[in-house]
Symmetry: C2
Subunit: 342 residues, 2 copies
């Protein structure tokens, strides 16, 4: 997703800085009051250096972002930091984030705040991404929306009006770990439990089903590519599906059906205006024929399973901000907090 | 659940009237500003007489409630009406309520308002019951809570702070119809779809499993009671479980396990402070040994399946207001709307 940057002259003050902290990279950017981006940059997280070093570098990245955007610190009305869970949002602390080993229980909000010299608003990264889509992405037309981020796992951010559904223990939207198959022999999830949505509709799940089919002797164009050294991942499966491989097409349609089940469960619980699908595993998204077929199959499954009152009215679409949703949403959440206070 | 009434002298003005419209009865009551009840009464719904007649009688019941409570109409600050779905809450209309045949698409809010001469706040009955528990029942200690009402189906009301999670199409909390078994041979739900939570943990589901076990030749004390003309229902199963029947005990424990699965899914999506279990099918509730064993088994399943961050912190308990939760909550929602406006 290419981001169109604006200049300070085109911008609507005041300005906000958003940071998206991930296990691999820290991405930061500056937005104006409308969510338009003036500058974006990133640097490696370097998890192994520990959280004190990380907080120091995040603080420096924030100061750099402000400078590169041509702003003075006093023109910045807020800083937002999105972080992977588990976390304690009101307490500003990490808890046990799976992708930040060694950073456990670190008071990251206040440490980053000390290093950048400004108050920091703390948010869950999936919620921040959902908020970004609502602010300036595919979710602008929705009062409430849910963003499902398909990757190694399944992220979920839920926004109802101005409410971020963080949950009372900062555990809202751990939706990848809800049961869609309650039988004792259901598929194992990466978390060690069984039958979770994530064990059926994530990249990990698709890859595992492909492996199982090939191990069972299923003929597929995938086999030759693997023999040539290709990596078994959704991208390869999408490529082979495009080339006409039946197994690959079947795996993609099956994944869409499981995704549809998870989406209907959300519609029957939260009933948002829209549900957006983002993340690395969208089989090419709207720009790709396979991606569009994937989305259509998701909608077919929803058509089949949902009550008409929601099934015929709730929009299902791809997210549009890609990897930028997180920092834009973090900036937007900082803005929301400021507006709520004033 | 016996309700303790207060006198006008003991009350804290202003006053509210709440109405709980059901397929069998219309229940109405008057509360003070703290949710204490001054008067409660009910009359049969008489669905077959149609919605115009119903609205007229609801209006008359509201006027009677005010009079019986010893109040003048101007001392009443709001009237709340809880109704079964499907419905259009912002529009004040019924849609296709399963238990009110012939009342489809009726503008009940405004018609009741005309008949009682006061503005009426319209709410979903399950949400109203949840709000009642939060206002004066078992949910008072929670910022956010979910009430699951176990009966023929499973009702679900979700409250997050001051937000009633009605959904964008008045379809929030249709949680009984979320999939917990996605396989093609999953149990059939009353709605015609398969694998729904309600098809595993409602009274209908328990009765069906009992029938299947008996039909398969399972020896049980239930058989003799059925031969004597008893009706196969959760009440009988609870009674036989108390008397030591193994099948009955097993059915109750299994039901608790399915309920636990549905509860964990809610914890991993909404993450409330508490989840309350109410309705007719609580196997006697807290006052009964079987009811307490049922609740403990629910908690055991949650202990097994939930992430510790929520599993070890979220309270699970029986609701306490019983059949009074609906009208009290409807009154409370009218009060909430008034407070939000002022």
């Amino acid at each position: 997703m290419e981001l169109k940057l604006i200049t300070k002259q085109q911008a609507q003050p005041p300005f906000y800085v958003g940071v998206d902290l991930g296990g691999t990279n820290i991405k930061a950017g500056v937005t104006d009051d409308r969510g338009q981006v003036l500058w974006v940059g990133q640097e490696p997280t370097l998890v192994e250096r520990g959280p004190e070093d990380g907080a120091r570098r995040i603080g420096a990245l924030i100061r750099r972002a402000i400078q590169e955007a041509g702003l003075r610190p006093e023109e910045v009305a807020g800083v937002g930091l999105g972080s992977p869970g588990t976390m304690d949002i009101p307490g500003g602390r990490l808890m046990v984030p799976a992708n930040l080993k060694g950073w456990e229980y670190f008071p990251i909000r206040d440490r980053v705040s000390e290093h950048c010299g400004m108050p920091v608003t703390f948010a869950n990264d999936a919620t921040a991404a959902a908020f970004g889509e609502k602010w300036v992405g595919a979710g602008q037309r929705f009062h409430s929306l849910i963003l499902l981020t398909l990757g190694t796992g399944i992220g979920c951010g839920i926004i109802v009006g101005d409410l971020l559904l963080d949950g009372e223990h900062s555990h809202g939207g751990e939706y990848g770990h809800t049961v869609i198959d309650c039988r004792p022999d259901a598929r194992s999830c990466s978390c060690g439990r069984r039958g979770h949505f994530e064990a059926y509709a994530s990249a990990t799940a698709v890859t595992k089903r492909a492996q199982e089919a090939l191990a069972a002797g299923r003929v597929s164009m995938l086999s030759r590519r693997l023999a040539e050294g290709a990596k078994l991942e959704p991208k390869l499966i999408a490529e082979m599906a495009e080339a006409g491989d039946e197994l690959s097409r079947q795996l993609i349609l099956e994944t869409a059906e499981y995704l549809g089940i998870g989406i209907v469960n959300l519609m029957h619980t939260i009933d948002p205006n829209g549900i957006l699908i983002g993340g690395a595993m969208t089989f090419g998204g709207k720009e790709s024929r396979i991606g569009r077929i994937f989305l259509e199959r998701v909608k077919q499954e929803v058509f089949l399973r949902a009550y008409p009152a929601v099934g015929d009215t709730t929009e299902i679409d791809f997210a549009t901000l890609g990897g930028n949703a997180g920092f834009i949403g973090a900036a937007g959440i900082a803005r929301l907090e400021k507006l709520k206070k004033s």
